[in-house]
């Protein structure tokens, strides 16, 4: 039994995503799932193992190796009444699907004056750390945040992944669902609940503290929590705010936290230039939190280079726990 008397179970991030999809497909027969190798093979990362057997080839569809087809078909299916979940095996290949996503899916609802809806989810395994080099390791969420009409979600834990994916599937707008590949094997206890829905646009304070706010999402959350635990021994209390949904962004929670602590670091794995951390930083400095800032708003992000293949270099371009600690000392004036 867990909190509130609810039953809890342990599962990985990948299993949580599978469970969210399967539950929604059982609940609503309009939900379908398409992508490359997601059927018989069970997905490149094993996320959809068993779904083909349960739901059959009509609802769990393997597609040709064409991301343009996947995104285009999903958009069309969504407009005509289905609720497709589409998987782009590597977020890097959304480049090929961009016209369908940016010019079609994101625009249709607006251009038809709200008469058309596009209830689709584009699941995008993303991020570095698997030794997959520059074309299979990128974090491109900022591109999609920049396009009005798209929602962007980036969960950091199995529980968040499940609750947010279910909310995304039930949403009537196109949702870009960013799954960092390194998170797939992370386990945690999550409520055993078919109604576990986490509304889009609601941040989660993963740790409370009064000295420094760190705003981060996805895989960086775990690193930040580790560092927060370490620096707590030195009397520095870090508050970790995970927005979970990047668009729409829960600005209020972020701003209130910064007003409380007066110091903030924004961290993302994606490259620094043009990254979403910069957007969050700008929102903070524009807000009423400005007058409470007692240190410059820091960004910590990937280096502005393509992800290297060499594993040591690959690690070096992403913010490390050491980098996070150093940034905390900097804003704390230590």
């Amino acid at each position: 039994m867990g909190r509130g008397g609810k039953r809890m179970k342990e599962m990985t991030y990948a299993e949580a995503i599978r469970e969210a999809m399967s539950e929604e497909m059982r609940r609503d027969e309009d939900v379908i799932f398409i992508g490359q190798d997601i059927g018989l093979y069970g997905g490149a990362f094993g996320v959809s193992v068993g779904m083909f057997e349960e739901f059959g080839e009509e609802r769990v569809r393997d597609t040709p190796i064409s991301e343009a087809v996947i995104a285009g078909a999903a958009t069309g299916a969504a407009v005509t009444g289905l609720r497709p979940i589409a998987e782009i095996m590597f977020m890097d290949f959304t480049t090929i699907a961009m016209d369908a996503i940016v010019n079609q899916a994101a625009k249709i609802r607006y251009m038809f004056g709200g008469k058309a809806r596009v209830p689709m989810v584009l699941r995008c395994p993303a991020g570095s750390g698997t030794g997959a080099a520059a074309q299979h390791s990128q974090s491109l969420e900022a591109w999609f945040c920049h396009v009005p009409g798209l929602k962007v979600v980036a969960p950091s834990t199995p529980a968040d992944a499940k609750g947010l994916l279910k909310a995304a599937i039930r949403d009537d707008n196109p949702v870009i669902f960013v799954e960092q590949k390194l998170l797939y094997k992370k386990k945690c206890r999550i409520p055993d609940d078919e109604d576990l829905i986490i509304p889009l646009g609601k941040a989660d304070i993963k740790r409370e503290g009064g000295d420094v706010t760190i705003v981060t999402y996805g895989r960086m959350v775990e690193k930040v929590l580790n560092v927060a635990q370490e620096v707590a021994k030195e009397g520095i209390n870090v508050e970790v705010v995970d927005p979970r949904t990047l668009v729409p962004l829960d600005k209020e929670t972020i701003i209130n936290s910064v007003i409380k602590t007066g110091r903030v670091i924004v961290i993302n794995e994606a490259v620094k230039t043009g990254g979403y951390a910069g957007e969050i930083a700008a929102i903070i400095t524009e807000s009423e939190a400005f007058d409470y800032l007692d240190a410059p708003v820091l960004r910590l992000a990937g280096k502005d280079v393509p992800i290297p293949y060499n594993p040591e270099l690959e690690k070096a371009v992403i913010p490390s726990e050491g980098d996070i600690k150093e940034a905390i000392y900097r804003v704390m004036n230590r």
Binding site: G262, F290, D291, Y292, L293, D294, A295, N333
Partner: protein, 337 residues
């Protein structure tokens, strides 16, 4: 790559927004603070921990300065009404006018007491009530024999249990709350949309202090026992006297009682505490000769003075209400029912 900047050559002060805000709020000049942050940056910590805050020079407009100089006024003692408390010409002139008043007062053996913020609020609220509500006062004599006996009877018990002495006010609050539930119009407020009838009684209790008057509110007295009313009343009076009441504890009354009995007052015309529709003045209890069944008797008599807002309540309902309170106090056993 960022190039190293020599900040010492910059004329502006380096300070964080938080430090600037704190300095602004405290009226401290940043240029007088030494920063402990990076490159001498002033942090919030530096402002908050400023050991000896040197009095900063008052800022004043040139015109204000020269007028002050002509009249020999010290700018430092003036309160500035301009941007960030800058002293303006008007501030100097106001000061001069006050000086003249004071001088005049001295000549005529008078003095002027400046209004305290509390006095100012009282003045404003009382005139607001007096000039908006056409009111009248009803008086009734109450035979307090049984209430007095009741008080004597429970006094010891309550003293042992609560360590407090029960007062007539406590019993009167209880009786009035009961009466208000029967005559809700007396417990109403005139608002834009009509007459707001409250389904509960929040009793305001006027507490006189040397420096003015406070009206703390005891909530939900209609469903409180005597002991609850008694401890709540003691508590708010105590804290009112020590200036420990929170603002919300003085808001939301639906009716008010003002007791001047301890001064021997026999009747008076209290002024309504808006937005209440009435106020009950409680007077002293005096032994009086009354005629009962054709026989002269000495009885403890107390007058109750009820001031009513005639916009909401007419004479007859007001009189019925007052008569009911009299009934309750003359037969306090009814309070149990």
């Amino acid at each position: 790559m960022a190039t190293k900047v020599d900040f010492s050559s910059y004329p502006r002060v380096r300070a964080t927004p938080a430090a600037r805000r704190a300095a602004r709020e405290r009226g401290i000049k940043l240029s007088e603070i030494k920063g402990t942050g990076l490159e001498g940056r002033i942090q919030l910590y530096d402002v908050e921990n400023l050991k000896s805050i040197e009095k900063t020079k008052k800022r004043a407009t040139p015109l204000a300065k020269s007028i002050a100089k002509i009249h020999g006024v010290d700018i430092e003692v003036l309160e500035g009404s301009g941007f960030r408390n800058k002293v303006l010409k008007a501030d100097v002139e106001k000061h001069l006018a006050e000086e003249r008043q004071r001088a005049k007062g001295k000549e005529e053996k008078c003095k002027i007491i400046p209004l305290t913020p509390m006095r100012r609020v009282i003045a404003q609220r009382i005139s607001n009530s007096y000039f908006t509500a056409p009111s009248f006062t009803l008086n009734i004599d109450v035979d307090m024999t049984k209430t007095k006996a009741l008080r004597e009877e429970v006094k010891e018990l309550i003293l042992i249990e609560l360590g407090n002495k029960i007062t007539f006010t406590d019993i009167i609050i209880m009786a009035v709350s009961k009466a208000l539930m029967r005559y809700p119009i007396l417990n109403g407020s005139l608002i834009e949309e009509g007459i707001l009838l409250h389904e509960y009684v929040n009793m305001g209790l006027a507490v006189g202090l040397d420096e003015g008057l406070l009206v703390p509110v005891i909530r939900d007295t209609h469903r409180k026992s005597l002991r609850e009313i008694l401890s709540d009343t003691k508590d708010v009076i105590e804290r009112a006297k020590n200036n420990r009441l929170l603002p919300h504890e003085m808001e939301g009354s639906t009716f008010t009682i003002s007791n001047l009995g301890m001064f021997g007052i026999t009747h008076f015309t209290p002024i309504i505490n808006q937005p209440n529709s009435a106020i009950l003045g409680v007077n002293t209890i005096t032994d009086k000769m009354v005629v009962l069944g054709g026989e002269p008797r000495v009885r403890p008599i107390m007058t109750l003075s009820l001031t009513i807002d005639h916009r909401i309540v007419d004479g007859a309902p007001g009189a019925k209400f007052l008569r009911y309170i009299k009934e309750l106090l003359e037969n306090p056993i009814q309070l149990l029912i």
